[in-house]
């Protein structure tokens, strides 16, 4: 009991002291040293997110901000545990002059913890405006801007249609609790519908459901689209196995999903998206105002094709696409 009272008094005493002196300490956080501090908060370890992170560092470097010289990066990864995001984002907000959020919850936690004067750069957030992070993509209006990672769904559908002109029913599978996957899946479904074909949506609660849902799906569709979805991405091999057994190709949306057995894709490099976010971060640090700095939607990408899958499924890819992939994209042999 004594220990408890002592602890409570210590906390109250501390809070009292902090309350008394806080207003003065808060204003002196802005440092005038040569070294810029940038805080990066990443939601979890995941190939795509890791690449965005590397891209950000590369982008900063390109603009002359180099770690160890004039840049200090504080990197925190919440490992998928959202209960830590708040503590982590407050910690970063407290010492860094610019913050970078990778994945929606991380960016939201930063936006909510940082003072409105601290700029925040979004790295590959699917829907910045719908997530409440910016007023609109063209006029962010606050302290937040960055890159948006919406998939080029029209190009991806065009590719699918070019390779499989006779496919009528397109299966789309995503994790119901994955914000990015859901957004991407629905955007793709819209495009499919507009083209007069039938999108068929399938959801999984987690990767354990994939085998069963995919088995059901392959009996009802002609081709499968795998969106930017953490769950589907990590179980891509399972999906490809089930689909290939039924002779159905999988068209993934991300670079990292291709080597696991995707047939073809038009992808935006995650690293490129991070790089652009890094460049934007450097420009904001030099005084560009995030409120009037539009969110960059990275649209240009490149074709990727998987020749192993082509042979396995006996599918011919139009020569123009093969050429494009050879010249300016990637071919998996």
């Amino acid at each position: 009991m004594k220990r408890m009272l002592a602890f409570i008094s210590a906390i109250l005493l501390f809070l009292g002291v902090d309350l008394a002196i806080a207003p003065r300490t808060a204003s002196q956080t802005a440092s005038k040293s040569e070294v810029v501090r940038v805080g990066i908060l990443q939601m979890m370890t995941h190939p795509a997110l890791d690449q965005i992170h590397h891209g950000v560092v590369a982008g900063l470097k390109e603009e002359g901000l180099i770690t160890g010289k004039n840049l200090k990066i504080d990197f925190l990864n919440a490992q998928g545990d959202q209960s830590n995001l708040k503590t982590m984002s407050q910690q970063l907000a407290n010492k860094d002059s610019l913050l970078v959020g990778i994945a929606t919850p991380a960016a939201q936690a930063l936006a909510n913890s940082a003072p409105k004067t601290t700029p925040i750069i979004l790295a590959g957030i699917s829907t910045p405006a719908a997530s409440g992070l910016v007023k609109s993509e063209a006029h962010p209006g606050g302290n937040i801007t960055g890159t948006s990672g919406l998939n080029p769904v029209s190009k991806q559908f065009a590719l699918l249609h070019a390779i499989m002109p006779r496919a009528k029913k397109i299966g789309i599978i995503y994790t119901s609790s994955d914000h990015g996957g859901q957004t991407n899946a629905h955007a793709f479904a819209q495009v499919v519908k507009r083209a007069g074909l039938i999108p068929k949506m399938y959801t999984i609660a987690n990767t354990n459901d994939l085998q069963q849902v995919a088995s059901q799906m392959v009996s009802q569709v002609d081709a499968i689209y795998a969106p930017q979805d953490n769950g589907v991405a990590s179980a891509m091999k399972t999906l490809v196995n089930v689909a290939n057994n039924a002779n159905i190709p999988v068209f993934p949306c991300a670079e990292t999903m291709m080597p696991d057995g995707g047939l073809a894709s038009y992808v935006i490099s995650q690293k490129e998206m991070g790089r652009i976010a890094g460049v934007m971060a450097a420009k904001v640090l030099r005084g560009k105002n995030p409120a009037t700095y539009p969110v960059a939607t990275v649209k240009s990408g490149y074709y990727m094709i998987n020749e192993k899958e082509m042979r396995k499924l006996h599918i011919k890819i139009p020569a123009a696409i093969v050429r494009a992939a050879r010249q300016n994209g990637k071919v998996i042999e």
Binding site: L15, D18, T25, S83, H179
Partner: protein
């Protein structure tokens, strides 16, 4: 300085979860997995309600009711359906995921730009992080007093006896099934309330925000018990709150020491395991005072 205040604020907010789990984990003697579903449920309800224009206070109460409903279902599955408690909790937790997605109409709903409990004018004039200290502190004091008062009543005493000794409780004419249902409903209502508050503090609700929270709740309870030793029931409630603050301090220290955040989960697991083993270690190393031994074992 700032960060310590922030940790205290976070500790006070999350303490609600510890207190809620204390009712089931320590008084009724089982670990209720439902909380990993009812926590995001409370968050989903409150955030959706706020975006629909409901006042933040009413939205928080709705979060409480949603959580309570989840707990009620677990209680019914356990007592009337004879499903083992661990499984009943997991079933409701799993089901909650779909319910949460339905409520939110997606997996993530943001509160940025909306009016929340934390955006009230009075808190804007205070130094940073004092909003969570005041709201967290105020809520936890209120809830703890209400729970302490409840446990003093006849109903509360019957609830405690149910956890202590079911057989004896039944011989005293206590309906232990109803007590268990009551405990689960109340506990999960508080979990929903915690979810509602924390979502407003974080500025969003996410379908995945319940993952791993049972560890946080257990950590508050266990750290509180280990650090503050033998206490009366009311004091134990306070120990849970302080345990929650200490847990945040530990996280802060780990982060400040510059450990890779990849190791964070392992580190908190180790800390928890050490805390759990501490009574045993103390005994083995004969660190226990003779006096305390005499009191605790009561002349055995």
């Amino acid at each position: 300085m700032n960060l310590i205040t922030s940790s205290i604020g976070q500790g006070l907010l999350w303490a609600l979860l510890g207190i809620a789990l204390f009712l089931t984990f320590r008084i009724l003697n089982f670990a209720d997995m439902t909380v990993e579903g009812t926590f995001p449920l409370g968050a989903a309800i409150t955030v959706t309600a706020i975006t629909k224009g409901v006042s933040p206070l009413v939205a928080i109460l709705l979060g409480f009711l949603g959580g309570a409903a989840g707990g009620l279902i677990t209680g019914l599955l356990y007592t009337k359906g004879n499903i083992p408690i661990l499984l009943a909790g997991i079933l409701v937790m799993t089901g909650c995921l779909s319910v949460n997605l339905r409520i939110m109409g997606g997996s993530n709903v943001s509160l940025l730009g909306q009016k929340t409990f934390f955006s009230a004018k009075i808190f804007q004039t205070l130094p940073r992080y004092f909003d969570s200290v005041l709201i967290g502190g105020g809520t936890i004091i209120l809830i703890t007093i209400l729970i302490a008062l409840f446990l003093e009543t006849d109903l509360g005493q019957a609830f405690i006896v149910t956890g202590d000794n079911q057989m004896m409780a039944r011989s005293l004419g206590i309906n232990t099934e109803n007590m268990t249902i009551l405990g689960l409903t109340l506990s999960n209502g508080l979990v929903g309330l915690a979810g509602a508050l924390i979502a407003q503090n974080n500025g969003y609700a996410d379908a995945n925000m319940g993952i791993g929270i049972i560890v946080i709740a257990l950590a508050s309870i266990i750290i509180g018990e280990v650090v503050f030793g033998y206490l009366t029931l009311n004091q134990r409630l306070i120990a849970v709150i302080l345990g929650s603050i200490i847990y945040r301090f530990v996280l802060l220290i780990v982060l400040q020491l510059g450990f890779s955040t990849n190791d964070l989960n392992l580190i908190s697991a180790i800390i928890l395991a050490v805390c759990l083993m501490l009574p045993k270690l103390r005994h083995a190393l004969k660190l226990d005072g003779i006096l305390r031994k005499g009191v605790s074992q009561n002349g055995k």
